[in-house]
Amino acid sequence: MTFSGVMMIMWYALQPWLWLLALLLVALLLSYGFGRRNPGKPRKTLWLLAVIAGLIAMLVAPALSHSQLSYVATWPDKAALAAIGLGVACYVALLLAPWLRR
């Protein structure tokens, strides 16, 4: 499959979820709007929360897709699950960073 073909399918796959992506982006922007007025270094709690959110995402992702964790067996499965966990952890860290400062 060509790169452009994959990107086209991704575009079609994302279309029904554009509202959610926009919502997540707005939440991030609002959070940073607040954060600009609250300078400081992030607390350790932030990283802990991000890791917990990432782990929860990894645990529930198979169930949300009508599957189960034991079916995550091949290395692409594990890579996909890790990417989901990492993505959620990064988003939570970015979202909460302005709120959890010393």
């Binding site: 086209m8 991704m10 796959a13 897709s65 599957s67 079916y71």
Partner: protein, 440 residues
């Protein structure tokens, strides 16, 4: 270059170039190259996946002519989703859309069915009593489900007396799921799964239905109370590609599924919950069931079978559209091309096959209109995410002679995977939609 502007580092310029290229390739813009001017009237029969994909592709790349799409059905069905409905995972509405929403501008839609094809006169008769002349014909009618060839059976029985059949449409798929639920709620019983002896669309569907039903039985915690049997008309075969056939038979053995080969479903007594199978010896035997999944014999629609476009000899004689299996051009009528389930080729009766067939047919039609040799070849590509239980699947991709054709080097074509299940559940419908628009 502006001397006051600092030169960008090479790394940044390369990054910009790469992003621009990626954005351009990802952009849903029409292809700029390969347009053909013609005055030929192109008629496409069929408003399913193949017909709509061809209408979108040809309208974009042929200018100056009339394109007519013929087909009565106003509702469009995402057929690869039927197994998800019949497995109790999707609602019916997830596979429904309208034909009109996929139609490109500049294509005339005749909402009527073709009743006769006169290939010699290049003319079609329609159910609205009109006649339509064509210069170039694309046959994309899909295939016909011949339930009537099973004695005592009619599609109205689906959803009653423990009868299911995933192929008959979204309502039938939902009714099939309800029949499976009813079987499970009985707490015990016998489920029979069947296979027809003709070429069939989505040949993995009968196997998927067996696997997902096994998953549901296992989830109920009463698997041991149920007898699950599969009846195949072929000898030691349920799938035409050996590696997948062997996998399925081995897995069923492990899952204690009874396998009965060389038995063709020939009749059903719905009232008595009894199916009749004819063996290789020609003798009929009866089998009682609490649930039966019926796979009907399939063929091209009667209007194609009764025309001169049908294969005249060989394995597909009298049943399927005669095309060259590589160019998809009719072997005797060069102004006729075929795409989708209707064509008589060794493989290629899935929506994924249409994804590969449509660009081949499009390129060859453009070349034909320009009076040039046909450049594109269809390699028999067929794909089927073979669901092996609810939550995991194998991405089986193959072509002519059963050659494996994996699309992604990092996904094994023989391993069960959650990623492949995710592709089936989340990504295939967007890919299908992009295909209908002729974008992939």
């Amino acid at each position: 270059m502006n001397p006051n502007k600092p030169a960008q580092p090479l790394r940044r310029r390369m990054l910009k170039l790469g992003l621009t290229a990626a954005a351009l390739s990802a952009s849903p813009l029409p292809a700029l190259a390969g347009k053909q001017h013609s005055t030929a009237h192109i008629v496409i029969i069929g408003v399913g996946a193949a017909g709509l994909a061809m209408a979108n592709r040809l309208r974009r790349n042929v200018t100056g002519n009339r394109i007519t799409l013929v087909g009565q059905r106003a509702e469009h069905h995402y057929q690869p989703g039927y197994t998800m409905i019949a497995s109790g995972l999707w609602p019916e509405k997830k596979v429904l859309s309208t034909t009109s929403q996929w139609l490109p501008e500049g294509v005339d839609w005749q909402a009527a069915d073709v009743t006769a094809i006169d290939a010699a006169q290049q003319q079609l008769s329609l159910s609205n009593n009109t006649r339509l002349h064509y210069d170039l014909l694309v046959v994309a009618t899909g295939c016909q489900l011949n339930y009537s060839q099973i004695e005592g059976f009619s599609p109205e029985l689906i959803g009653q007396h423990g009868i299911g059949s995933v192929y008959a449409g979204p309502q039938a798929a939902a009714a099939t799921s309800r029949q499976i639920e009813q079987l499970i709620s009985q707490g015990q019983g016998r489920a029979i799964f069947t296979l027809c002896d003709t070429p069939l669309k989505c040949a993995g569907a009968p196997l998927k239905m067996t696997f997902t039903t096994l998953s549901r039985l296992e989830k109920s915690g009463k698997r041991q109370q149920f007898q699950v049997d599969f009846f195949s008309p072929f000898k030691q075969r349920v799938f035409s590609v050996p590696v997948y056939n062997d996998f399925v038979l081995q897995r069923w053995q492990e899952q204690q599924v009874g396998f009965f080969d060389q038995r063709k479903l020939t009749a059903i007594d719905a009232g008595a919950n009894t199916a009749y199978f004819t063996g290789a010896d020609g003798l009929s035997q009866s089998e009682a069931y609490d649930f039966i999944h019926v796979v009907p014999p399939m063929s091209a629609p009667d209007v194609v079978r009764q025309s001169d476009l049908v294969w005249q000899s060989g394995a597909f004689a009298g049943n399927w559209l005669e095309v060259d299996q590589y160019s998809l051009q009719h072997r005797r009528y060069p102004n006729v091309f075929g795409v989708g389930d209707v064509i008589g080729t060794p493989f290629g009766k899935t929506a994924a096959s249409v994804k590969l067939q449509a660009p081949v047919a499009e390129q060859n039609i453009l070349a034909y209109l320009a009076g040039q040799p046909l450049p594109a070849r269809y390699n028999g590509y067929t794909s089927c995410p073979l669901i092996t239980s609810i939550g995991r699947a194998i991405l089986s991709e193959f072509g002519y002679e059963g050659k494996l054709m994996p699309s992604f080097s990092f996904i094994s074509p023989t391993e069960e995977s959650w990623t492949v299940w995710m592709m089936k559940e989340q990504m295939l419908q967007p890919a299908y939609n992009a295909m209908l628009h002729g974008r992939v």
